[in-house]
């Protein structure tokens, strides 16, 4: 494939990755920003989202679009609820101590993973996309000094992948409105800025925490429902989204919402584009080192303000 169309294809694929990553990572960023804890089980909420989406669509039967629409609403709520329960039974009791939270969430990670293995099994199972048309894409070329369009071999995307990008953007705008315009967002931001002060002003901090934890998990689950018609639900699938979300949250400046979105775009797109230039595994090594070095030389993240 020529360079131009190749780059466009890689960019489009990168955009899908970025969209899903932005959703997952903003959930993690929300939790980290408001509660100042690292949730290692975040990837498992993602995995649960995918697995539950399979359950729901499979149980309902009927048309693919209907089952998927139901899953899109029901699954994030279920996962969010589970996260709230986790928060109230475990995290609250250890007082959100940063180190103990890490250990506890590692434990929770294993629990979710194993319960899924025991009930759902070890298979990777597909969910039928509600719609999926292959769209061949045109590219520009100059023939005898005139611009003309042609359809390069292999340059295409599916309508569903485009919809994923659109849906992710919509949800992120919604989240941003929630955080900046609603009373709930105000409570969250107040808690984020000064927990003790918020408590003194009568904000039910514990309830805000539980809610934030649930919302963060629901974001991961929603991302998973969107991706599961492209990938498959598997009980070990939470690992990569967790790693990538971590990277995104840190590069984005630890809890900064716009920073997280920008970082997700950067990481998602570069994942696609770097693969154009290097052999795949070498590309992964370079991308990984690049992220590490960015953090080493800009520890506050690319988009975070240096807080002193």
């Amino acid at each position: 494939m020529d360079f131009g169309p190749y780059l466009m294809l890689a960019t489009l694929e990168g955009a899908v990755t970025a969209a899903v990553l932005a959703l997952t990572a903003s959930g993690l960023a929300l939790v980290f920003g408001v509660m100042r804890v690292v949730n290692v089980a975040h990837g498992e909420f993602f995995m649960l989202g995918a697995v539950l989406a399979w359950w729901v669509t499979n149980m309902l039967g009927g048309s693919a679009a209907f089952g998927f629409a139901v899953a899109l609403i029901v699954v994030p709520v279920l996962v969010g609820f589970l996260a709230v329960v986790t928060d109230m039974t475990v995290l609250k009791r250890i007082n959100y101590d940063p180190e103990r939270t890490i250990v506890a969430t590692i434990g929770i990670l294993y629990i979710f993973q194993q319960v899924t293995l025991m009930t759902y099994g070890p298979d990777a199972r597909p969910v039928v996309p509600p719609f999926n048309t292959r769209l061949a894409l045109p590219w520009i070329e100059f023939v005898d000094g005139e611009i003309s369009l042609y359809w390069p071999w292999g340059l295409s995307i599916t309508s569903y992948k485009l919809a994923v990008i659109g849906a992710a953007a919509l949800v992120l705008v919604g989240l941003w409105v929630l955080m900046t315009r609603s009373k709930l967002g105000l409570l969250m931001r107040a808690t984020e800025q000064d927990r003790d002060m918020a408590l003194a002003f009568g904000i039910p901090v514990e309830r805000v925490y539980a809610l934030v934890f649930g919302l963060g998990a629901a974001m991961a689950a929603l991302a998973a429902v969107l991706i599961v018609p492209i990938q498959q639900a598997h009980y070990l699938m939470g690992h990569d989204p967790l790693l990538l979300s971590f990277i995104v949250v840190i590069i984005g400046g630890l809890g900064s919402f716009p920073g997280t979105i920008l970082a997700a775009l950067l990481i998602g797109l570069s994942d696609g584009v770097i693969s154009v230039f290097f052999s795949p595994t070498l590309a992964k090594i370079l991308a990984t080192l690049l992220v590490a070095l960015v953090l080493v030389f800009r520890p506050q993240g690319l988009f975070g303000a240096r807080d002193t």
Binding site: R100, I106, L109, I250, A292, L295
Partner: protein, 315 residues
């Protein structure tokens, strides 16, 4: 203070003697297990120096363990050096990797430090796969039986293996005890408790931290190198994230910032998995539940709780 020193000497001497004596009474299966646990506990002790005493949480220690493992394994398989020399190569290589990564990663702190070490380890893991021609990638390779002896001692023999593992463990234990009791160790603890204050007292905090990473990595590499020659296998799974998280778990279980905690944690976790896998296939579920309960009810880990409740002088 001196009385505490004496008690501590007695305790650790007793533990070492006990481990030495156990090899004559243990049935074959547990004999082999304990040898493995001693090697891995050395890894955990190295981790504890950094995490428990200096307060730096790394998620990339598998890189140092793997550097020791591959340094030794490749020295034997590619360059044909003897096991003793290869062991030294592995430890040196691991320490070097530790110092280089440490120098970079120490520019960050907190969560960023965790992630940077994680990323470097991930890059290391992929590098092993990338050079599959020499490393056989994920499959790994076997160190031939004939190459696994040091000055005539056949390391695949159960008693020799046990004794070798014991030597590795004792070296790690003595090193930890010495460090913890030394002025150097006290500065590390001071850094953990309050880095700013340590800095104001005039200590070059960065240099101390780097030394701690170097020491920690050298123990991890020693453990990895010993694992290779004692058990005959070199593989990429030892460089994966899981093997960075394991020492963290062992240390937290046993008690961060206690000298014996890593041994207790490693032993506890090993038998937890071994026994529960006999009851249910989902033994990691049990491990998960235990972890959650530990954080809820024994946040200091087993030895840490012991120190808090009973033996206050425990180092």
């Amino acid at each position: 203070m001196t009385a505490d020193m004496r008690k501590s000497l007695l305790l650790h001497g007793g533990v070492l003697l006990g481990l030495l004596a156990l090899q004559y009474v243990l049935p074959a299966y547990h004999h082999g297990n304990l040898a493995r646990v001693m090697v891995l506990a050395s890894y955990a002790m190295g981790y504890n120096l950094l995490f428990g005493y200096t307060g730096l949480l790394s998620l990339g220690h598998a890189l140092f363990f793997a550097a020791g493992l591959y340094g030794t394994g490749l020295a034997i398989s590619q360059f044909g050096v003897s096991a003793g020399v290869a062991l030294a190569v592995g430890v040196l290589f691991g320490t070097l990797v530790g110092i280089v990564i440490g120098a970079l990663a120490l520019r960050t702190e907190g969560v960023a430090f965790m992630i940077v070490t994680l990323m470097f380890a991930q890059a290391g893991y992929l590098t092993i796969l990338y050079f599959g021609q020499y490393t056989r990638g994920d499959e790994g390779f076997v160190i031939a039986l004939a190459d696994r002896n040091i000055s005539g001692w056949d390391l695949s023999d159960p008693s020799v293996r046990y004794f070798a593992a014991f030597i590795v463990f004792s070296a790690a234990l003595l090193m930890c005890l010495t460090v913890v009791k030394s002025r150097f160790g006290k500065v590390l603890i001071a850094i953990r408790e309050n880095e700013e204050r340590a800095r104001m007292l005039g200590y070059n905090v960065d240099r101390f931290k780097l030394a701690a990473i170097g020491l920690s990595a050298s123990l991890a590499a020693l453990s990895g190198a010993a694992y290779g020659v004692l058990f005959g296998y070199v593989g990429a799974s030892f460089a994966s994230v899981q093997y960075s998280i394991l020492p963290l778990l062992w240390v937290l279980l046993g008690g961060a910032g206690t000298v014996l905690g890593p041994l207790v944690g490693t032993l506890f976790m090993f038998y937890l998995i071994d026994l529960s896998s006999g009851i249910t296939t989902a033994y990691m579920l049990i491990a998960g539940v235990v972890l959650v309960f530990l954080t809820l009810f024994a946040p200091q880990g087993l030895m840490g709780e012991l120190r808090r409740r009973a033996i206050r002088w425990l180092p």
